[in-house]
Amino acid sequence: MIEAAAYCVAALLALAALGVGVARYGPGRSTIYAASALVCVALMWIGIASLGADAARMKLPLGLPWIGVNFRLDALAAAFLALVGLGGASASVYAIGYGRHESEPGRVVPFVPAFLAGMTLVVLADDAFAFLFAWELMSLSSWALVMAHHREEGNAHAAYVYLIMAVFSGLTLLLAFGLLAGPQGSSPGGFTFAAFRASPLPPATVAIVFVLAMIGTGSKAGLVPLHVWLPLAHPAAPSHVSALMSGVMTKVAIYGFIRIVFDLLGTPSWWSAVVVLVVGGVTSVMGVLYALMEHDLKRLLAYHTVENIGIIFIGLGLAMAFWANGLAAGAALALTAALFHVFNHSVFKSLLFFGSGAVLTATGERDMEHLGGLIHRMPKTAFAFLVGCVAISALPPLNGFVSEWLTFQAIVLHPDLPQWGLKVAIPADGALLALSAALAAACFVKAFGVSFLGRPRTTQAAQAREVDAFSLASMFTLAAICLLAGVLPGAVIDALAPVTQALVGAHMPTQMDRAWLSIVPIAEARSSYDGLLIFFFIAVSAWATALAVHRFASHRLRRGPAWDCGFPDPSPATQYTAGSFAQPIRRVFGTVVFGSRETVTMPPPGDTAPARIEKHIHDPAWETFYAPVAAAVGGTADWMNVLQFLTIRRYLAFVFVALIMLLLVLALWQ
């Protein structure tokens, strides 16, 4: 099995190389994408097939000879391999259609398979060298993709910030692995994960590795305040790449976190769970608040990725909390919830990015203020997008609800934990989780309502055309998965059982053999949920009601102008915009979090000039963490730049001073 996965990676790399040559030709591009879709399907299949199987290993004589390149396909890797395969396949199929409109195919086509290969390799890697190699390869190839439309304003900056953060994460992980390896790095097998597992570390070291892993994977996944690259990079990349970055790459980062913290470090301490919980909670709420302030569709989606990463980390934190206290069942529940959400987010975020890509193709606009009424022009895209919106808003009966429900079930279990820190942090996280879910729903009402409903705000939106069949096929497949995972969550939970078994030594009870296919995390009396029945009830009662009303009451219908309380205005500019829609929430949360201000400039009486409202928003993460660093680096660079323009005499003085200093050091040392 693992050999097959390795061949798949090789095939992807070959496709990347081939892509350089054929990117110019339309059929060539389609072939590359189609081939990579096939390879990804194979990867997905391999992943699913090896979920329950024993861990397989493989060693290639590459890299550093005393380490080699080690691959291992265990349950965790298999789960994420399936995820990469699914995301890659859907993105590739989508790209067959979407890629036709690509203005710079040469800068996109070769890098997509390379990016997929990088992500697959991260999941397969079983030693520090291979892991980081793949990690950075993933970053580098996606950087090239973000850079694809380099002439558009802001994209270069986005790619810059992105790669800096990516390299920062790589270097942080490098430190973590350095600590894990210890001084035995040069011995044969020194950097393999097996060696890391075998050598126990002192608690202080574990703590440092944990923090480094958190920073390293968190900056790739998008934990606040390390998230700044996401809203920049995701809009800049072509939409299928945004989907991959958001839906799959951030998940690969989470894989890294799970691999290091759950697998390599062993049982965590309870305070580390508190750290994860706090960061996760803050991330989820901050992410969604940021999203609410946005009116660029893809940036909004990117911020929602931040939010969902936060939710996943809440689940992981819960799992760590239970695991640290030896409550294996709770840990299994929380970990399953987190992994389920990983899966869900991957699916619906890809779907939403595909949708936004379709909108972009159809209208050339990402700014929601320039959209509107697309449901009429692009009904299929609108439907798929709506499914994604409902799913990400954690509403039943779709999949997003199930994973958040599971997370909540884990939260309800928390009185079993002895530490006061966890007792306070977990309910608070529950509150944050609830808040972020509610805000997410608000945000997606905004996103869907402003872009797809109402009247078109621009001619581009009014003349939009439905997108091609490949894109639609990809979107509808994902929408179907959203529904299936929502109504049959037991299948996903059971599939994840080997993963939790391997990591925390327990798994949730088997779900699929329960009657009515309901899910029961702990015990019947505690809680249960049956997505299938709920879906069935809703569908039947809605359908039956509609039928009954039409049959027995009235089915007459007359079209007319909108009533609008008697003041219908023909201008679409009078509609609510994204900015105005979010205004109440901006006033409630934004003034505190973002220091948002609104200034209204009224024309003097009698003047017919329009009144203007301006909103000002500060980005707290950027202003607190990044701007000072950038200013410090820039200031130091300016200050040191003088050293380029000194006289030879002064340079000689440096030599002289260096000599004197060293001699003084010597004198003191002796």
Binding site: P61, L62, G63, L64, P65, W66, G106, R107, A128, F129, L132, F133, A134, E136, L137, L140, M147, H150, R151, A156, A159, Y160, L163, I164, V167, L171, T172, L174, L175, F177, G178, L179, A181, G182, P183, G185, S186, I208, V633, G634, T636, A637, D638, M640, N641, L643, Q644, L646, I648, Y651, L652, F654, V655, A658, L659, L662, L663, L666, W669, Q670
Partner: protein, 488 residues
């Protein structure tokens, strides 16, 4: 290969070949007026040296009073002759263009080619010398020839750069000589008067009996003397300007070779000091200077506007990393240092090759006047991108491997140093990426004329770096590990 060697005329010594070929060709080239032929001969001579160097791998003469080849310096010799060869092929196309636009005359070229070979001779001599005096002479010879080459354009800036290089270099020379004398003084009571007390192989054998105090002072002078050549901050001042104002092949050679030669000298003495247990530990000194260079160069990179000067600062940065790695020592540290040095030489010279062509296309070295290179010159632009990615330590290139080793081994032993190290790496990466974005992407700026580039050397170097990033041949690593063990 052995069969091939036996086919050579009896009495032919490849070690001498490495020295004699450049020297003889230097004389020939000095006399040849036709630049096309001399460019060709330049390549031939470099290829000859390379062939001799390769044959040294198989038949290694025993060390004698003046010359020697051991596991340690053969790495450098091979690298040196290889990059010398590729640079000479690059130089052929580069110089043709310079002649076309009238920046150089035929007379200049005669001088240039002769100096090129003389410089290679000097560097090879420094590497194979078994005598610390001879080594010193050779390093100085290489320096002086490069000084002349840097000033070859005779612009204000070029002359200033050459002058700066010359003055700082001379001081470095003097300090290194003083250090060398002190080493002799330390050795004399143990080994006895005369030549033996300057022969490397003898010195290292008896190093443990030397007077440690003398060795300490000697090492400080050698560190600063040869460190000036290596370009360590704060002794670096000559380096950026010399890279920026000289012809690009010389920039490539400076970064790819001369710095290594000086580093080699430094490492030789480091071995010597390390062999004496009561002498000062060279590690902390190297680590300190290395980190200082790394972080200093990182900050300096941000305000660079001249593309060649920027990559010169990047060389300072990498020399900092390399010296740091050797300072950390241990099997992994030394191995990382050797790898990093090899990769840096290959990558940086490849970058200079591309940069040379870029500057020729754009008619300037100002980065603000370049832009959108991947749009107008895809191959050149993407090669530059690949080069910068490689030098920044991103996979799949070989620098990643060495930086992986440096950082992990450091963090396991000295966490604080490792944090400083990655701070420096990130810092310089940020600056390089910023400029790369400006030059290779974005709106097209500057002339977009066709380029008559010789891509072969660039591709050859980058492919080697790429292969090294993916697969390091076990024999090579075993050999490097052996050398690393020699370095202590």
């Amino acid at each position: 290969m052995n069969a091939l060697l036996s086919a050579l005329p009896p009495g032919f010594d490849p070690l001498l070949g490495v020295l004699v070929i450049p020297l003889v060709f230097a004389a020939i080239l000095a006399m040849l007026p036709a630049y096309r032929i001399s460019a060709g001969l330049n390549i031939v001579a470099s290829l000859g040296s390379l062939a001799c160097a390769i044959s040294l791998l198989f038949a290694r003469p025993p060390p004698h009073e003046y010359l020697m080849v051991d596991d340690f310096n053969i790495v450098f010799i091979l690298l040196n002759t290889f990059i010398g060869f590729t640079t000479s092929t690059f130089s052929a196309s580069y110089i043709a263009h310079e002649l076309e636009i009238g920046r150089l005359t035929a007379w200049h070229l005669r001088f240039y080619h002769a100096m090129f070979q003389l410089m290679l001779f000097g560097m090879n001599l420094a590497l194979v010398a078994n005598n610390i005096g001879l080594m010193w002479v050779a390093v100085e010879l290489a320096t002086l020839t490069t000084v002349l080459m840097v000033g070859i354009y005779r612009t204000h800036e070029a002359l200033e750069a050459a002058w700066k290089y010359f003055i700082l270099g001379s001081v470095g020379i003097a300090l290194a000589l003083f250090g060398t004398i002190l080493v002799y003084l330390a050795a004399r009571p143990v080994i006895g008067e005369g030549m033996d007390a300057m022969v490397w192989t003898t010195l290292v054998e008896h190093a443990r009996d030397f007077d440690p105090s003398l060795l300490n002072i000697a090492f400080i002078f050698l560190l600063l003397g040869y460190g000036t050549k290596v370009g360590l901050a704060p002794l670096h001042a000559w380096l950026p300007d010399a890279h920026a104002e000289g012809p690009t092949p010389i920039s490539a050679v400076l970064s790819g070779l001369l710095l290594n030669v000086a580093l080699y000298a430094l490492l030789r003495f480091k071995i010597l000091i390390a062999a004496n247990s009561s002498a000062i530990a060279p590690g902390p000194l190297l680590i300190g200077l290395g980190l200082l260079s790394l972080i200093f160069a990182g900050f300096m990179l941000y305000r660079r506007r001249d593309i060649k000067r920027m990559f010169a600062y990047s060389s300072i940065e990498h020399m900092g990393i390399i010296v740091f790695a050797f300072g950390m020592a241990g099997p992994l540290g030394n191995l990382a240092g050797l790898l990093q040095m090899t990769m840096h030489s290959l990558t940086k010279s490849a970058i200079f090759f591309t940069v040379g062509h870029v500057a020729q296309v754009k008619g300037t070295q100002r980065m603000a006047d370049m832009g959108g290179l991947t749009t107008t010159h895809p191959l050149l632009g993407w090669l530059l991108v690949a080069g910068v990615a490689a030098i920044a330590g991103l996979p799949p290139f070989g620098v990643f491997t060495s930086e992986f080793l440096v950082v992990t081994t450091t963090f396991a032993r000295e966490p604080v140093l490792a944090v400083l190290l990655i701070f420096g790496l990130l810092l310089s990466f940020g600056a390089l990426l910023l400029r790369l974005t400006e030059v290779a992407f974005g709106e097209v700026k500057g002339p977009t004329g066709p380029v008559h580039a010789s891509y072969l050397p660039v591709i050859a170097h980058l492919s080697l770096v790429l292969v090294a990033g993916i697969w390091l041949p076990p024999p090579l690593v075993a050999w490097f590990q052996h050398v690393a063990a020699l370095l202590g």
